[in-house]
Amino acid sequence: MKTTSLIVASVLAAGMASADAPAPTDVVFEDGAVAASLTGTPGNAAEGRKIMNKGAGNCIACHAVSDLAELAFHGEIGPGLDGVGDRWSEPELRGIVANAKNMFPDTVMPSFYKTEGFIRIGNGFTGKAAEGAVDPLLNAQQIEDVVAYLLTLKE
């Protein structure tokens, strides 16, 4: 029960922070990087670590991360993320997580903070057409949380 209310609280907090966040279409990319925090609220690395798993970001479907060794089956589609916090700056990581296609135009990586410009967008995984406004794959605070976590991955 305690855990549940904690989760509810953090979801509410994320939702509130996102209300002030720039819409995905308003985010300013410079050479693929995003200098400013999307929310002004520092990212929570512990939350970001959870988002790496299935059901949220599912980052490890494509990327291997030694720090997440307790989770089975890390993918090989994208580069491994060990040491990624040394190789990239915070603005670069924010830009890549939000919409990697700005930095790598041909990447297969999905754009996690994007709401338009899709072809035949569906309603989640139902196979049916989407109805109404599209939510980004991750909200603004979740992007910040993932960036905070990635910055902890040092060599």
Binding site: G75, I77, G80, P110, F118, R120, I121, G122, N123
Partner: protein, 281 residues
């Protein structure tokens, strides 16, 4: 930035080498019933630009899954094929006809599936279309649903008559516009995840996506028995599942889009053996 991209590339190689076990297809040979040798690897057809060598999906599966296709007594698809053998000779519908009453022995279909789909009277026609056309116009029977087990059992039974023959679908002449349309669909990045068929099955075959070992997405083994779904799966049903998983609005089974995609994807199997009914994970 370029430097970083390069060093990332090197890292990706290092990580790939480190995890090792799953890089690319394996080296196993597929011989069915100890006598029928299947081509599971050959030079890619000339029209393919991104791939030099094509591999059957069988080469990407675990030894355990592979073994189920080595002997027809172990192949779980054969139960459904046996039912299709019965249905083949059964009279159904108002015209007092069965498949056998016009076509004779089912072996007369040898070679047909290796060259389907094909264009007839300006329409791209799949084996499912031919079967339902026979059922409705010649037998006076109800059409079967595209991915029903009666339909896919019959598609597999007719395909079995071509097992071991090389896939050889025509892509030129009046097939060309359908093939071009299918190719366009293959390379379109659908859905909120913005993934095309090529994103996984051309750019990343051999790599793991979470627990799944990506194949080239060849469809020479379809209808295929999919252990996860415990039944024979049609090509269109698999297309539908893949596009759905990109968080997209899929096309329907039996749609013109999927007919075109079937022709295009099968043309990427030209030269591999017809394998139906294959067994996959």
């Amino acid at each position: 930035m370029t430097k970083k991209a390069i060093s990332l590339g090197i890292l990706a190689l290092a990580v790939g080498a480190g995890s090792g076990a799953y890089a690319g297809p394996d080296d196993d040979s597929l011989v069915i019933n100890d006598e029928l040798e299947m081509v599971t690897e050959t030079a890619a057809p000339a029209h393919m630009e991104g791939i030099d060598t094509i591999y059957s999906g069988w080469r990407f599966r675990t030894d355990e899954t592979q073994s189920l296709q080595l002997d027809d007594f172990d192949n779980p698809a054969m139960l459904t094929v046996d039912q299709a053998i019965d249905a083949y000779s059964e009279v159904d519908g108002s015209e007092n006809e069965s498949c056998a009453s016009c076509h004779g022995d089912v072996e007369s279909f040898a070679g047909l599936s290796a060259a389907m789909p094909k264009v007839k009277d300006g329409n791209l026609v799949t084996l499912e279309d031919e079967i339902n056309n026979c059922r409705s116009t010649r037998m006076g029977a109800e059409e079967w649903k595209w991915s029903g087990q009666d339909m896919q059992g019959m598609v597999a039974l007719i395909g079995l008559q071509s097992r071991g023959m090389p896939v050889d679908v025509a892509i030129d002449g009046d097939a060309a516009p359908f093939w071009e349309k299918g190719k366009e669909i293959y390379y379109t990045r659908y859905g909120q995840l913005e993934l095309s068929c090529a994103s996984c099955h051309e750019e990343n075959y051999g790599n793991m996506i979470r627990a799944d070992h990506l194949s080239q997405g060849q469809i020479n083994g379809f209808p295929t028995y999919r252990l996860k779904q415990a039944r024979l799966i049609s090509r269109h049903n698999r297309f539908r599942g893949c596009i759905r998983d990109t968080r997209a609005h899929t096309f329907a089974e039996g749609s013109d889009e999927f007919r075109a995609l079937e022709l295009y994807v099968l043309s990427r199997s030209n030269g591999l053996s017809v394998e139906t009914p294959a067994v996959r994970q």
